[in-house]
Amino acid sequence: MRPRSLFEKIWNNHTVAADLNGADLLYIDLHLLHEVTSPQAFEGLRQAGRKLRRPDLTFATLDHNVPTSTNRMIINDVLASSQVEALRRNCAEFGVPLFDLDSPDQGIVHVIGPELGLTQPGMTIVCGDSHTSTHGAFGALAFGIGTSEVEHVMATQCLLQKKPRTMLVNFTSKLGPGVTAKDLILALIAKIGVDGAAGHAIEYAGDTIRALSMESRMTICNMSIEAGARAGMIAPDEITFSYLKDRRLAPSGKQWDPAKSYWHEHGSDPGATFDKTVEFDSASLAPFVTWGTNPAMAAPVTECVPYPEKAANESSRNSMARALEYMGLRPGTPMEEIAIDRVFIGSCTNARLEDIRAAARVIKGYRISNRVQAMVVPGSQKVKHAAEQEGLNRVFQEAGFEWREPGCSMCLGMNPDRLNPQERCASTSNRNFEGRQGAGGRTHLVSPAMAAAAAITGRFTDIRAWHYKD
């Protein structure tokens, strides 16, 4: 048989009907819901008198607009509250399990799917959220969809999709100390551009990837969409299987061995071909910091804010000049001289236990800068609980950080956690778009360790030279 890629295997395994006018009808194994992109879909279902086809393959959580303060059972924002209530009513009416604010499993949708063992290799996974690509770290085909498609999956458990092209990104060599998955994906996006993978499903491979934990792999797949990719995926291996073992909703007992051998088949065959291939040597990579208003506008922390006049063409020159004006930055300023006001450690990109630990290790024994306000928002109740068991909440609180309840929080500022106009933030999230964290706010994307170091020094600081006090 012709060698097939991981992507092709999953696509073929899930094709219910091929080539309906150029699109394939794909079966969806797991549908995740949250409060912001689902209410109109439930309403559409209701109006058409349709049923939710597979409530057993559908799970919901509250994450996007919920407050992260301790006392959050009453939400003061009337619109946010009505959206939360709508999800509760809809889940009750249609029989969908909901991880509500008082559930020990509540958290950001892309953090809890893997954590519960719902996310498994070989699956098709969708959610009305562009960062659904996160789940691809397990060797699943996972992608974000709009609300009309959410309704389509609710009614049919299928989606009509045009087959994307494929791209292989081959990361080779070992990452240097202090350099993380976040730096790797930011550097890749800077290299290929915010539309560099448009229309493609990416498979990340190479020895750099093989050495990464599942949590780091999730960080990489999470930001695939920031390069325009339809999905990002990594073939499963022993690291994947040991992450899944004993997860509550993963196969167990007699199911484990057959599941594992099925998962094992989900790698690209030797000789599988891709429409595009990108080679990336990770050896000399430095920590990255974004300086502009899209994730490709990024540079190593050792460099300076770039000069628009050196851009390749007029339109990039205009985009850069516009971005620098918005960001309040002068070309030629060393990245390490950019002073910050706020630090946000959170989001589906970087709020898992590994991220919290990495940040805690940096700040241990230090106090945050007087001019900085900093917060940690764990990705889920489980992450929060595990970190508290290790005493990490105290490390953060003693350093001057706020330690908050799980949710999307200041990654998109739908809840009260927001930047004020012109405030500059070192953020572990995924988007530095204008106004993303609050109207007029200025976001710089970094790794958790880099965000933690910036909180202490009040400016971007090369984590590779950090004096750890542990």
Partner: protein, 201 residues
């Protein structure tokens, strides 16, 4: 959904690349549970100053562009968040067509579901139209049956669209209804699909 055959309307040029959905509809307007009423918030942070007054420098606020129904913009339009609210806002504001040199994938899918026509033209053609639109009100006809964009001044350019997307727009397909016609195949797939024990919460 209403079938789309042709549309003729004034072109509003928005000369920017990589316009993300956070700009098209900022997050504070995503808390509503309806599909309608988003037009007032389209490009909110660009259209309005912080005191709520219209920003005269923003392209859509120029008097010539107020009646525009065709948006003309740079590459990778609609990148970022999957929020369909971005398409609802463009439709509700009055746009029927968006022309760009490329679109983000999820945004383009969302367009198709709502009868907003994403037309891809080469960057050269987009630049040519930008120049024409900047010189004065430009009326453009988009013919989806012929896949042709034409202006009164002689501009004429064919475009290509994915056959699936084009058919959905031309016929105003109810996709869910169409998929449910494959119910037997869905049931057959479900009967043989690989699972490892039922998931119970």
């Amino acid at each position: 959904m209403q079938p789309f055959k042709t549309h003729t309307g004034i072109v509003a040029p928005l000369q920017r690349e990589n316009v993300d959905t956070d700009q098209i509809i900022p997050k504070q307007f995503l808390k509503r549970i309806e599909r309608t009423g988003y037009g007032d918030f389209l490009f909110f942070d660009w259209r309005f100053k912080s005191d709520g007054r219209p920003n005269a420098e923003f392209e859509l606020n120029e008097p010539a562009n107020r009646r525009a129904t065709v948006l003309l913009t740079g590459k990778n339009f609609g990148c970022g968040s999957s929020r369909e609210h971005a398409v609802w806002a463009l439709r509700d504001y009055g746009f029927r067509v968006v022309i760009a040199s490329s679109f983000a994938d999820i945004f383009a899918n969302n367009c198709i579901k709502n009868g907003l026509v994403p037309v891809v033209l080469s960057s050269d053609k987009v630049a040519a139209l930008m120049t024409r639109a900047a010189a004065g009100p430009l009326s453009l006809k988009i013919d989806l049956e012929q896949c042709m964009a034409t202006a009164q001044d002689g501009f004429s350019c064919p475009f290509q669209m994915d056959p699936f997307q084009r058919t959905c727009l031309l016929e105003g397909t109810d996709e869910i209804g169409a998929t449910l016609k494959c119910l037997k195949q869905i049931e057959a797939y479900e009967a043989s699909r690989q699972t490892f024990g039922s998931v119970n919460c």
